[in-house]
């Protein structure tokens, strides 16, 4: 028969007593008996609560209850009529956070707001009164017999030594009065639980004095009961632990198993991962007594799933690096002439490749060009063949002499024209006025129309038939270098 694994934000299984405690653990494990506070309860739970954000649990507070749960609730912000809320096994003890607005609202639920709890909107919705959240260990029955022989722990080494002694079966240590005298950072290293086997459970008195043992992990597959304590039959007070656990059977932040022990005023901030295990935020299973304690953090099935994102990311970077990096400046001496936006790929040149055996350029166009003055388009039907290895810029030109005869001027401003004419080598039969120009036309592209240029001085071409020159400028497709030899061919233009 398949086992139902239990998950609880605070405890996986409770057969003992839990009072005045809470869980803020986020649970995201499916297919188990899970409760925001306790997975399976056959003991007694009073005045406790859990807070759930999403209904990824069997019950907001408990998964299965065959014991007694009194004045205990789960707080949530789920919609009252939502399916998620209705699917929970314990909807009747759900309380919408938005409806808990002050101390009285919580007090009416049965919580002791004078000695144990205080209300706070951020506290979802209550927390322990900090000044009362400390247990006086001298009240413990174990204290009197052990107070003279306490073990003071101040360092990580001392704490590890204690755990080793207890796990080695040294009864003097396992039954001792241990006092934690400082916060202890275990530097992210593996922690072997104190009392990792039931016969060597901790039976003494442990006073954390409000200190925290932080930054430890429990991943060892050989360890099946994972927590700061593996098996606890003694008493632990005033201790906070902060750890990551990879669970494989039973796990809880303070203790995997609190057999007949007592946990008071303790806290566990945990990140527990694993499948097919029983685990709770503070304890795995509780058969003893727990009071004024809480658990926070998360319990989820996989560790760092987002780390998987590194793999495709590394692959992308690797491929991009492998496919040669550009040098940032484009590597070319010259700026590229922008491609003509009107040029389109020539379907006949689809399979052609630029030639690599030296400079090669050819072209095709109409020898008689019709110019539509309304649209400013010169019907040209120019093609740069696919096997060309030059981009081509096309200009339609008059000599300055022609321009003056046809348009009345060269189109230049008076200042420009005067400066040009002042030069010794100015010859109106050689100097040209450009009347239409394309952008750069790539090999395998065609341009149906050239566009007339607006002349700086506003000169226009009147309707008629004229001789003109098509001037072709070639740019290397790789280097943008202009070929030293341009081509020019006579054409007839018909302006309408």
């Amino acid at each position: 028969m398949k086992k139902n694994y239990c998950l609880g934000g605070f405890a996986a299984i409770n057969t003992g007593t839990i009072e005045n405690s809470y869980s803020l653990v986020k649970l995201s494990a499916k297919g188990n008996v899970s409760g925001g506070f306790v997975g399976k309860n056959s003991g007694n739970v009073t005045n406790s609560f859990s807070h759930i954000e999403k209904a990824k649990v069997s019950g907001g507070f408990y998964g299965i209850d065959t014991g007694s749960i009194l004045h205990s609730y789960f707080f949530h912000s789920l919609s009252e009529n939502s399916k998620a809320l209705k699917n929970l096994s314990d909807t009747t003890i759900g309380q919408r956070l938005e409806e808990i607005k002050n101390t009285d609202d919580v007090g009416n639920l049965g919580f002791d707001m004078e000695n144990v709890w205080e209300y706070g909107q951020e506290a979802k919705p209550i927390r322990f009164l900090n000044h009362n959240w400390i247990y006086d260990v001298s009240q413990s029955e174990k204290y009197a017999a052990r107070k003279e022989n306490s073990i003071l722990i101040k360092t990580a080494e001392e704490l590890r030594e204690l755990a080793n002694k207890i796990n080695a079966g040294e009864t003097g240590a396992s039954d001792a009065y241990v006092v934690l005298d400082a916060d202890i950072d275990l530097e992210g290293k593996e922690w072997i639980p104190i009392g990792k086997e039931r016969p060597r459970a901790f039976t003494g008195l442990f006073d954390g004095q409000g200190h925290t043992v932080t930054n430890f992990v429990i991943r060892d597959k050989e360890v099946t009961n994972k927590g700061f304590f593996g098996f606890l039959k003694g008493e632990v007070y005033n201790l906070t632990v902060d750890c990551r656990i990879k669970a494989n059977q039973m796990a809880g932040g303070i203790a995997a198993n609190c057999d007949e022990g007592i946990i008071g005023c303790c806290a566990a901030i945990v990140d527990i991962t694993g499948n097919q295990s029983d685990f709770g935020g503070l304890v795995g299973t509780n058969g003893g007594r727990i009071f004024q304690s809480y658990a926070a953090g998360k319990i989820h099935p996989f560790a760092f799933p987002w780390l998987l994102g590194l793999i495709p990311m590394l692959a992308i970077v690797g491929v991009l690096v492998a496919v040669n990096l550009p040098d940032g400046t484009g590597g070319n001496k010259y700026a590229p002439v922008p491609y003509d936006p009107d040029a389109i790929a020539d379907p006949d040149a689809e399979d052609d490749q630029p030639r690599t055996d030296g400079n090669f350029a050819s072209f095709q166009f109409e020898q008689k060009i019709n110019i539509d003055l309304t649209s400013g388009l010169c019907a040209f039907n120019f093609k740069n063949p696919g096997e060309s290895n030059h981009n081509i810029v096309v200009q339609l030109q008059f000599t300055d002499e022609q321009a003056k005869t046809i348009m009345g001027s060269t189109g230049r401003t008076e200042e420009e024209q005067a400066a040009l004419e002042a030069a010794e080598d100015y010859d109106p039969e050689i100097n040209r006025t450009t009347i239409a120009e394309s952008g750069s036309i790539r090999p395998g592209y065609m341009l149906e129309n050239l566009r007339l240029i607006s002349q700086p001085n506003g000169a226009t071409i009147p309707p008629g038939t004229y001789n003109a020159v098509v001037y072709l400028i070639f740019y290397d497709i790789e280097t943008n270098n202009r070929a030293m030899l341009d081509s020019q061919l006579p054409v007839v233009i018909e302006v309408e």
Binding site: G188, D271, L310, K333, Y334, A335, Y475
Partner: protein, 170 residues
């Protein structure tokens, strides 16, 4: 007084490191993609800070003369180039007054490695002397002088002239 912490501290540093690496990889991937997908940007050469206005009067042994391309551009340059003791070379590359173009010169060895380079030279100015870009052996060597001509404003090519020459030792 104790406080009731709820945020996990264990592994925070490792998480920050891993997240930073992840973030760097994402940024690197985005940058590489942008560089690959976007058109390559063009950076024109900087103007030569050693360029001097006017026209030089080199000694006759430099064989300084004009080179002109029909329907193209013209420039003046030393025909004989000598390596100096510090490796530099007198080139006297001149962009004549009234030129419509910007020029730049380079001297390359036979493997195509650039030994000397000018910055961009405006019309009406010249660059007299070039410092070597690498250590150059003091011996006669075949070189190629390349003169690049740029359209003003757009930095489009107006053509490149290549001249074979010999760099003389000092």
């Amino acid at each position: 007084m104790r406080t009731q912490a709820t945020k996990l501290e264990t592994g925070k540093k490792q998480k920050i490191i891993i997240f930073s690496v992840f973030l760097l990889l994402v940024i690197a991937a985005i940058l590489l993609l942008v560089v690959k997908v976007m058109p390559k940007s063009y950076t024109p050469p900087k103007f030569d800070e050693t360029a001097v206005l006017g026209e030089p009067i080199p000694d006759a042994h430099f064989a300084y003369d004009e080179i002109s391309v029909e329907n193209g551009f013209s420039f003046f340059v030393a025909g004989n180039i000598y390596q100096q003791e510090d490796g530099s070379v007198y080139l006297y590359l001149t962009n004549p007054e009234g030129s419509d173009y910007i020029l730049q010169g380079e001297i390359l060895d036979e493997s195509g490695e650039v030994l000397y380079s000018t910055g961009a030279i405006k019309s009406g100015s010249y660059v007299e002397k070039l410092k070597p870009l690498k250590e150059i052996e003091n011996k006669a060597m075949k070189v190629e002088m390349r003169i690049y001509a740029f359209e003003k404003d757009t930095w489009y090519s107006r053509g490149t002239i290549s001249l074979n020459n010999t760099l003389q030792p000092w």
